[in-house]
Structures are given as C-alpha cells and as structure tokens.
Amino acid sequence: MNSRLISMQTIQKNVIPLKLLAIKLYCVQAMRLVKHPTLAQGSYILITFVFYAVTTLAFNLNDVQAATKPTIKASTTQTINAAAKQSINIAYLTQEQNPPASLSNLDPFIKEKGGIGAELGINDNNTTGEFTGQQFTLKRFIVPIDGNVNETFTKEISSQFKYLIVNLPAAQLKPLADLTIAKDLLLFDVGTSDDSLRNEECQRHVLHLLPSRAMRADALAQYMMKKRWTQWFLVIGPNPEDKLYAEAIKRAAKRFNMKIIAEKTWEHTYDARRTAQSDVAVFSQTEDPYDVLVVADEQGQFGEYLDYRTWIPRPVIGTQGLIAKPWHKTHEQWGAVQIQHRFLEKAGRWMEEQDYSAYLAVRAIGEAATRTQSNELSKLKDYIFSDSFTLNGYTGTPLSFRAWDGQLRQPILLAAPRSLVAVAPIDGFLHPKTELDTLGYDQPESHCQWNK
C-alpha cells in the first residue's frame, strides 16, 4: 500500500439546529502517513497528512417522509440558506491587448482568453458548494490598454481578495508579484510559460497553471525520440519569446540526446502570397540533412508558411505544425467532450489554453476549499501543496502542483490542426514518482529556491 491509512477517527457531531435549517454534519478526520519516495535516494520520508474532512450534508427540497429515514429526520425544510454559507471570493486580473498582426482571417482575434474559463470553474465550484455550504464568487478586472495593472491591483484587489488569477505577460506579472502587498495573496498565473518565473525568479505565493516552455519542448522531444527523428533543424523567429522557446528546445535536445544540425533565424517577409514559396525553399536548405524542422514562432508570424514548402519533405513541429498545448479543440478523451461542450455553449468559441488554465485555477481553489471546509488562505495553500491534492483536468491523469516551483503537473497534448496526435508523457518515459515529472524541470534540476 503506497498510502496507508494509519488511523481513522470518525467523529459524529450532534445535529446543529440553525433555526429552520438543520444540517447533519459528520466529520471524518484522518491522519495519514504517506510514504513519499524521494528521487535521489528512493528512501521514504513521512509526511503527516494535513486535514481531511468529509462532510455529509443531509438536506431536503420537498417534504420527504422523514419519519421513515432517521438520517434525514433533521432536515425537513428548504435547502441550505445563504447565511450559513462560507464565501470564497476570487479575483481575475487581465489587461486588454492590441490585436496582433494576423496571417489570415481563419482564426478571429479573441479579445480576452481566460475569463470565461474562470467563470465556468466558478459554476462548477458552486454546484459543489450548494451541497457543502460554500459560495464562490468571481470578479473580473480588465484593465484598459493604457491603464496601469499595478494600480488596479493595489486599489481594488489587494485589500479585498485573497485569491487572484492573473492573466498577464511575464513582463507585467513579475512587478505585480514583487509588490509587498501581493505576498499576502495566492496568485494563480494563467498567462505565462516562462521558465525563469518557475526557476530563478520563482515566488512562494505564485502558482503557474500553463505548462512552461521546457515542459512543452520536452513533450515534443519525447515524441520525436519515439519517432526517431533525431536530427533537428531549428528555425527561430525574431521576437524575444521565440528565443526563449528556442532555448527550451535546445535544453530538450540535450536532455534527450537529440542533435540540432542547424539553427537559423527567420528574417524574411511575413506575407505568404508574395514570397513564401521561394523564400522557404531557399531558407530550408541546410548543409547536413535533417529529420524534422522545429520552429519557434510564438506569435505565429511565419511558422505556418513552412509546412509543404521546405526544400526537402520534412514535418514541421514546435509552435506550428505539431504543437504542444495543455488543451486543444481536437481533444476528446477522458471526459473532455463534456467540458468542450460546456465551454462552447457558454463562450461560443473553443476553449483556449488560458481559459483551460483559469478553469483549473478556480477548480483548484474549489477543491481545496471543499476538502478543508475552509476559506482561509493558509489552510487552502497547505492543502494545495499536500500529497492529497488531486485535480481532474480531463486529460487522463490526476493533476497536482510541484512543491519545488509551484508549477501545475500536467500532461501535454501534441496536436495537429485537426487531430490529436499523442499525449505526453509518451509511453516508455519513466519516472520513479510520476511520469508527469519527465516534462520540464524536475526537482533535482530546479533552480527555484523559495527561501532566498
């Protein structure tokens, strides 16, 4: 038994009379000793399980023949009233973005990716809350393009909320998280994939929901290794983010012993109609042959031109072609169809990765609040980082947070535009604790030091 129940105490409390309302509350408090295999020695450390409460609420909507059932005898009236509810208030902060230059009209510009995901999460939390006596609220703050994010945070959020979902680029998240008042909150970053924020610049009060660039690159590398595409031609875009993505690709190549035979920066035009056919053919000629073209173009300025136009016929993988995402519209296994439908119905569009991450952030808060029966930050945070925390992300594996850098542990979908090609970790990439930790910075590799 990996996680053994040492002792389980069942405390049956008396019926609490709350005027007309009567809830029968049972608490099962379990102290668990969980064996935790550490990576280096494979030895076990004992972790005392925090607190595990299971509440059974008896409630009744209509008149029920209560006399026949002793367990429901106490509850003959309406559902749990609002006064008895515990509130968990969540803020969501983002800033309006200028539409980027687009390649085509195929994908309409989405003004705000993330907020609807958070709302869907609130709905799900509140359905559970109806049964457990908790009420979740979400307030969305959308700062105008010329507005100041830190000012909104300081004036409207910091004193009123304990839980904040931040959907901002790394350049804005960093100064916000650095504010002293921000340290009293728990921040859920759903807008960045930066590895530096999860390593040298990590902060104890910031959790990261999107997979890092390193996790995405490792997912692609595992797949390429499985396919024996060992010789890579790396094409890098002109933006700083593209360079970061390329760094992650290079790290993955080293990690999985792949070879980057050539590396080039795209310096050509961004207009497909005029020059792509001739430009790409010339650009994609390399001295040594390669198996696959790996592209780093996060904004999608030229990556789509590469496929079918290379000098030799080779697949394109990276930010275009076969892409690595936490969520994709082609994904329908493990109950994903249901949430795809629910989101589509609510938003009128497919769920983007920021929506998915914001959904998971809200659900993580909900799960922690339900299990601890609390709205206190320290209790929820402890629970989120404990071994008992598991979250369903509709990807077939329980999700949790890495205790060493606050990154959400999650599978990565490898998707082509109209088909899901594979799900990483790819079969055969093993790990002593969880195969999910074969993606990105594992504990021994992490540069994050919480207490610096």
Partner: protein
C-alpha cells in the same frame, strides 16, 4: 456401460446449460453489440445497434436488453434473443450510464451534459421526472431494497442519495476526486464508490452515509497516477469485491470483510466495466483500448482467456 452413458448424459446436460449463457458487450466505436460465448471463449457475432453504444442492462426477466446509444440521444430496447429493436426510451441528451430498479419498471439515466438524472417509466416510455444533480453525473445505481437511487457526479465529487419514492435528493456524501462508479452490496447496507483521480475505493455505510473505509491500491511497477479505479462490483455473499483499475490494466480483488486487497489480476488495456456470470463463478471485464474482454475464473482467481470483440468495448452484461 451404464456408468459411461450416465457420465455422457451429465456432460451433455452441463454443456447444453452452460452454452446458454451469453455475454453482451457494447462496442463504442463500432456502433455494435458483441455476443460472446464465455464457456467456449468465442465471439459468436456482432450486431449493429446504433450510434456510440455504451451503457447496457438486461430486464430482470432477461427478455429485454437496454442499450444507451449516446449519439442517437436515446436508450434502445432490444429483444434479448433475436436482437430485434423493440423501441426507444426518452433518455434525454447523450445518455451514457443508466440503472434499473429491482422490479425493472423504472429506469434512471445520467445526463452528463445537463447535470440531470432522468426518471423513465419503461412501460409507458414516459419521463416521470428530471432531477438536478451535480456537474457531470456518471455512476448510477439502485439499492437492491429499492430504497435509494444513487447518482455520482464526477466534477462535483459527490454521491447523491435520492429517495426512490419521492425522486428527491435527501443526502449527499462528499467523496474523493472524480468518482466514477457505485455499487451496493446485495444487502443494501454498503455502497462502494470508485474515485478515478484519487485512485481510491470508498466504502460508505448506507445508514449513516459516511465513508467507513478508504482503500488504496498498489501495483508493483506501476506509478500511482496510472491507478484509476472505475467499475466496481461485489459478490452476493459479500465475500469479495472487484475493482477495475483502468490504465493500470488490472482488476483488484478485495476481501469484503477485512477490506484487504488480496490480489491484482492482469487483464487487457484500460479496463473499465465489470460483470458477473449469472452464477457468479466468472467475472467479465471490458478492456477499452485493447479491444477485448477478459474472462476471469473466480474460483481459482485467474484470468482464463481474453476474447477480441471489436473497437472500444464499453459495457458488459451476462444473460443466463
């Protein structure tokens, strides 16, 4: 001579009775039903039944076969011998799992997209009520004493106790992450619930509605996150329970008295649903991604055979 003929006669009669048993398996991706002879371990035939068939059940008299054809948004009624379609039940949208009451005149359907349980009068093919439950209701079952209808909601992590007389929720039990399936013991005293993401089996007392035992599984060589319990059933004498462990490709055998995991049996890939033979001497498993079913002899506790049935075997039921 007399002894020999007697032996033959006995053997013949055994074969003829044994051969009557059929195992029905819904094939989600083939839109079909597989009919298997579990004694010979042979696929007899497959018949087309409708789009994306999943949940399956037999009427108590074994005459009718109910199949949830999810993408047709209905539950179809078939003659269990001729497989002729007899009618359709108004199940609501995207039916996946459903349960019959012991009398076999009412059906309860989980409508996953709408967070509802639909109550159907089978004879009149009429919806009696729709009950609002938690997000993504999945597992559904009726207690053998017909007192409780249980609906398990995956995203709300809740077991809803619904009074079958009033069709209203009267109690809720919070359970581990992503509960999937629920089964009562034959005496209706316990409810066994699997939680897929937490990797646990919870045993709940029907009287107090409290979890009295949490069972974890450990399979050597398999990481914990691959252990995702789904289907669960308990034998009629409450000696042993069986849990399908999903992508761990194992069925766990649990002592229903000591709650110890006695054994794990290797079956096919992504095992999710289970059914007993009518005499409870064998157990049948649907293995979602290896496209077969495993036949388990319960006396020796060994997997005796796997039978290829078609794409994505989902639900399973055995007819005497």
């Amino acid at each position: 001579m007399q002894y020999h003929s007697l032996k033959w006669l006995l053997a013949l009669s055994l074969i003829s009775t044994a051969h009557a048993e059929n195992v029905f398996v819904t094939l989600e991706k083939d839109n079909a039903l597989a009919i298997v002879d579990p004694i010979e371990g042979k696929l007899l035939k497959t018949v087309l039944v409708g789009q994306r068939p999943r949940g399956i059940a037999l009427s108590p008299d074994n005459k009718h076969l109910y199949i949830a054809t999810s993408d047709d948004n209905t539950i179809k009624v078939f003659d269990a011998n001729s497989f002729k379609e007899l009618g359709k039940l108004p199940s609501g949208k995207d039916p996946e799992t459903f349960a019959l009451n012991p009398a076999g005149d009412k059906m309860y359907v989980s409508n996953e997209d709408d967070s509802l349980v639909t109550v159907i009068d089978i004879k009149n093919k009429k919806v009696l009520k729709q009950i609002k439950v938690g997000v993504e209701p999945e597992g559904i079952t009726v207690s053998p004493d017909n007192q409780w209808l249980i609906s398990v909601s995956e995203t709300t992590n809740m077991v809803h106790w619904i009074d079958t007389k009033t069709n209203t929720i009267v109690a809720n039990t919070l359970v581990d992450s992503r509960p999937r399936a629920a089964s009562f013991t034959a005496d209706s005293q316990q409810l066994w619930v699997t939680s897929e993401m937490a990797g646990t089996l919870l045993i709940i007392d029907s009287q107090s509605k409290q979890i009295i035992k949490t069972i974890n599984f450990d399979v050597p060589g398999i990481t914990n996150d691959k252990i995702q319990p789904v289907g669960v059933i308990i034998d009629k004498d409450r000696n042993k329970g069986y849990v399908a462990l999903g992508p761990a490709n194992r069925v766990a055998v649990i002592n229903a008295k000591t709650y110890e995991v006695e054994k794990v049996l290797l079956v096919g890939q992504r095992v999710w649903n289970l059914a007993f033979s009518p005499d409870q001497k064998r157990l049948y498993t649907t293995n979602g991604t290896s496209n077969d079913i495993s036949l388990i002899d319960l006396e020796s506790q060994t997997v005796t055979k796997s039978v290829g049935v078609g794409n994505y075997p989902w639900g399973v039921v055995a007819k005497p």
